[in-house]
């Protein structure tokens, strides 16, 4: 009261200017938040990639400071060696098998889980666990289990009367690749379940109910209504499987070693490149060719990029909107 009477000027609220100053901050201020991640990305992804392209055009063996420029010789040599194609074929077989597995077994389990049985969270956790376990640990455990000497798969088969199925899983040339693919499928199953489950939970129930009212059987409902709406999941899963199977290394390296034994049956691009770049035969390092290994890796990268882009385009165009 007293303040009003004495006539002191009341303090008017001044219009607040934006914190931190002018238009530049508003426009570019967000870049400060992106900066740490961007620096990390450039330092650990972009720079090494550029350096790799540079090294692939030299004759660096991996030892020493000799970087003689050789142009595209490494690429030509890589494209001319049969082992590269042999390994790529093994990767291709792996991709097809895992893909079929994911889209059948994975889809089936996801459909079952979608009916929300009791203990659904528990099943989901157990089925997803192989994805989380370190690939090296997975490889070691399976190596132990599959060993004809100290494993338990063969003794168990023998004890339940299926002894004729007890084979040399990792050393029989006809079975080794299949065994490795089996372990990879086991590892990757969780992905397909989670992706399909998420996809199914996005489908409005009214659609399936409408189909059933119209007299569609469960089979028809699934294939005519549910599955077309799951196409985005199908696409994501296919792309992920493609990238994953051509990038595979850890599990195969631990299961069958750096030379894709027996007799290169399980040699994939990952082990081939590792062996070329680092000399994975262990005893000597006189056969390492780092720059050739990098050239191979770059070739694989470009081919995968092209195939993935084509796959995405083809698959996306078939997506249906709900």
């Amino acid at each position: 009261m007293a303040e009003l009477v004495t006539g002191a000027k009341p303090i008017m609220a001044r219009p607040r200017s934006h914190r931190g100053g002018g238009r530049n901050t508003r426009k570019y201020g967000h870049l400060w938040f992106v900066a740490p991640g961007l620096i990390f990305f450039v330092a650990f992804m972009i720079y090494p990639a550029i350096f790799a392209v540079y090294v692939s055009m030299t004759g660096w063996t991996g030892l020493g400071n000799d970087f003689p420029f050789v142009g595209f010789d490494n690429f030509i040599q890589a494209l001319g060696t049969w082992p590269l194609y042999r390994a790529a074929i093994n990767n291709g077989i792996m991709f097809i098998c895992i893909l079929l597995f994911q889209h059948t077994v994975g889809l089936f389990i996801a459909v079952q889980l979608n009916t929300k049985p009791k203990f659904m969270e528990f099943y989901r956790a157990i089925l997803f666990m192989p994805v989380i376990i370190s690939l090296i640990a997975t490889g070691f455990i399976w190596t132990l289990m599959l060993s004809p000497h100290i494993g338990f798969i063969n003794p168990v088969l023998k004890s339940i009367g299926l002894g004729f199925l007890a084979k040399n899983w990792l050393s029989d040339p006809n079975l080794a690749l299949g065994t490795v693919i089996f372990v990879s499928c086991w590892n990757a199953l969780g992905w397909s379940i989670i992706i399909y489950l998420a996809g199914m939970q996005n489908i409005p129930e009214e659609l399936t109910q409408a189909a059933q009212i119209d007299g569609a059987s469960a089979w028809q409902t699934f294939w005519r209504v549910t599955f077309p709406l799951l196409w985005p999941s199908f696409t994501s899963l296919t792309i992920l499987t493609f990238i994953g199977s051509f990038r595979a290394f850890d599990v195969v390296y631990v299961l069958t070693g750096p030379i894709g034994s027996p007799a290169y049956r399980t040699d994939i691009l990952g082990t081939l490149i590792y062996r070329t770049a680092f000399g994975g035969t262990g005893q000597t390092s006189v056969d390492i060719r780092m720059s050739l290994g990098i050239a191979m890796a770059l070739i694989v990268f470009v081919v995968m990029l092209i195939i993935a882009a084509v796959l995405i385009r083809v698959l996306r165009s078939r997506e249906v909107d709900a």
Partner: protein
């Protein structure tokens, strides 16, 4: 009064920290990498002896399992993070590191007069010394379980025909004749080296290096044929058995024989302290003699970027001496120092006797045949399952030879 007390305390603290700093600075820490985890305790015992005589030097040993060792060392060298001391294969390996400027020239720093002839030749490249074998040499022959042989009334084989007869006898009794972990190709490569050494001998092997003889010559081809014929005698799943598992299987008595080196015995004892084995030269293929192969258990080099080169030199000189060598031969493997004999190790003594038969240096210690080892490792599997004929296999090996004058 308070100020004076504080002042005194401050000076005391300063003096104390300087003193502590000085003591801390006197201790030199050398890092050392080696590739035999199963020897760790025994090597530490030798290092402890050195540290007792040199209290200001502390050596930190890191043991890295064999197959991963080369990759780690090469990566560390390229990144500039290699340890002060590390093992390097003698010959082409050391030469590559020397040319890259990674290691110290030890020619005038070390006295290597105490080394055996083979070791001296292994350490010297073009008259310069870049690395020295200090943790022994290894000789490779045939290990066998004495009890299994005695129980079945068989004696160790001297020819491949005898070997196959033993193989048949043991297989009929359900005993695995031979353990051969072939997943990474190392053991088959050694098997071939011994079979071919039996036929070639040191002189014949020199001829391979100069190009006068080839692996595809009819007499040497017998080695490839003999290798292929051995496959049915291996344990089940040999192509998928990793090296380390194979050695453990043998130590536990799950196979009667194993091609192995003097360096493996310590590992067997770690797995099975009661192990009872004997050693003989490897049986001869057609036209050959029983033989062994010998290599250096890795020569040690000093990192050119090390901050303590003098201390590292001191350590290597100690390791070249008789005291360290005696500990090596008694507990670990054969040694490269002259005049040191195993005092109480029967297996090492048998190994030395075996080496007197016909001993040839391992292929990968020479630049002319350095790549042959890799060719052996990578193609043995295909030979075993019949994808390559012995002639094709021998041709692949010959393609990897780089003939040059000795």
């Amino acid at each position: 009064m308070k100020r004076r007390l504080l002042g005194t305390l401050a000076v005391a603290a300063l003096l104390a920290s300087t003193a502590l700093n000085a003591i801390g600075q006197d201790k030199v820490v050398l890092t050392m990498w080696h590739n035999h985890p199963e020897w760790k305790d025994r090597v530490e015992a030798i290092l402890a002896k050195f540290e007792a005589v040199n209290p200001t030097i502390d050596i930190q040993l890191e043991e890295i399992a064999g197959p991963n060792y080369q990759v780690r060392v090469n990566t560390a060298l390229a990144a500039g993070e290699a340890p002060d001391l590390f093992m390097r294969g003698p010959g082409p390996e050391t030469q590559a590191a020397a040319e890259a400027g990674y290691i110290v020239d030890l020619t005038d720093k070390l006295d290597i007069s105490g080394l055996t002839d083979a070791a001296t030749r292994a350490s010297t490249i073009d008259g310069k010394v870049w690395s020295v074998p200090v943790l022994g040499s290894y000789t490779v022959g045939l290990y066998y379980h004495r009890k299994i042989f005695a129980d079945n009334g068989i004696t160790p084989p001297t020819t491949m025909d005898e070997f196959h007869a033993i193989c048949k006898t043991l297989q009929e009794k359900g005993i695995t004749p031979m353990i051969a972990p072939a997943q990474d190709g190392v053991i088959p490569a050694f098997l071939y080296m011994m079979l071919s050494s039996g036929i070639l001998g040191p002189d014949g092997f020199d001829k391979i290096r100069t190009g006068e003889k080839k692996f595809t010559d009819p007499d040497v081809l017998e080695a490839a044929i003999a290798l292929k014929d051995m496959y049915p005698c291996f344990q089940e799943g040999s192509l998928g058995t990793p090296y380390v598992e194979g050695k453990a299987l043998f130590a536990l008595g799950q196979g009667a024989m194993l091609e192995g080196g003097s360096a493996d015995f310590a590992g067997f004892q770690e797995t099975n302290p009661d192990i009872d084995v004997g050693v003989v030269p490897f049986p001869a293929a057609k036209g050959g003699k029983p033989s062994t192969v010998t290599g250096m258990e890795g020569a040690f080099a000093i990192n050119a970027k090390s901050a303590h080169i003098d201390e590292a030199v001191k350590f290597l000189q100690f390791m070249l001496g008789k005291e360290a060598a005696q500990m090596v031969v008694d507990n670990i493997t054969l040694t490269t120092t002259k005049g040191v004999l195993p005092s109480n190790n029967r297996v090492m003594a048998e190994m030395l006797t075996a080496a007197e038969s016909r001993d040839v240096r391992v292929f990968y210690e020479f630049p002319q045949t350095g790549d042959v080892m890799a060719a052996l490792q990578q193609n043995a599997g295909s030979l075993f399952i019949g994808e390559l004929t012995p002639e094709q296999f021998a041709q692949k090996l010959q393609d990897a030879v780089k003939p040059a004058p000795l």
